[in-house]
Symmetry: C2
Amino acid sequence: MDKKVDAESVAKSEQNAMNAITIDCVVFGFDEGSLEVLLVQHAEGISKGKWGLPGGWIYKKESTDNAAHRLLNELTGLDNIYLEQLKAFGDPDRFPLRRVITIGYYALVKREDYNIKAGFTASDAKWYKINSIPDLIYDHNEILSYSIQNLRNRVRQAPIGFNLLPEKFTLLQLMHLYEEILGIEMDKSNFRRKILHMKLLVALDEKQQDVSHRAAKLYKFDPDIYKKLTEKGFNFEF
Amino acid sequence: MDKKVDAESVAKSEQNAMNAITIDCVVFGFDEGSLEVLLVQHAEGISKGKWGLPGGWIYKKESTDNAAHRLLNELTGLDNIYLEQLKAFGDPDRFPLRRVITIGYYALVKREDYNIKAGFTASDAKWYKINSIPDLIYDHNEILSYSIQNLRNRVRQAPIGFNLLPEKFTLLQLMHLYEEILGIEMDKSNFRRKILHMKLLVALDEKQQDVSHRAAKLYKFDPDIYKKLTEKGFNFEF
């Protein structure tokens, strides 16, 4: 850990912070076909020993966006991540000690690109598979559910999530990414037909190497179409 | 005004409120072909006499959603409006007196369905055309710009805004709604071809009545397709 967690540093940090509003980050990771979320175990306070989304207080002199990046870095070691604001969660009873509103942020990363290291008020930080999430502190299970639903809506409307694949990939790999995020099973030939119809992919003159099954054709994204679809959106119905 | 604005009622109201977080509402109205936004003139405090978005402090015991509805009602008389959360605006310098984060809400209504009545801390409330917005308090011009951009993205992806038209309408009326929200001019035959291709509209066996020009055919929405597109989204490129 870079920072020693002691009562003094925690108290000092809270003194400089706004006392009625926090940030919580939902970082989704994709790894070998499975969708995961980054959780931290609290090292102190009323939630000691429990798991939750990485988050905390906003300093009086930093923007909410900067607070989200700082907190994520302090608690998990993650840096340089594209975090997007999700929404504010404002139920009056969501935090047990007093009225606190939290602003949710979220990100979608390729898990293998990042090293996790628990820090500051976190005693542990790790990736949990979406279908085996423990009981989280406060309303964090609810925030996570909302984020998953939001992610599902978004992958149907824009090619986000495609950056979770290697540069060259098979149609089956792409389908598995969609299946995992949407939590559904898809029909292979139906998927193939629809995705090729979008003209988003460029078929390469290459096949998979070193696989035990019949090698599949590799594809990459057409950068122009990808950019256009990211800005304009599409509607991907399965 | 239903409530008398005096120093006591304002002080009492602030005492029961969270002191670092507010709500601001962007209510878009559509009326006779023009897009407008509802603004209020402040009757007291540092922003007295200036115009801004209807908003204010959140009570300690109400949800953010309830606060948005209450504030809008207190300041403008509007009630029973579908308000949706936009995002939180968290620049550390956005409010001059101290650090305050605001949560934006927004709505899109048929202007003629509502009566506006300034109340509580507002000395006036009125609709302003999108292209003649005055200098607003704090970062409200910025919040409004963000909301307009958000609205433009959304009308391209789902049939929101269609409830701003009468039940039976001409293709030209529908095109003018899109033109006004998107701030662009469209090509009539192009629009006609694309919108009919979506099969969202049902052509009626009726024409406009009492018009000086050649009466145009009337359409209505196919409720099933409308519902499906609202949930699933579409991509409407012009």
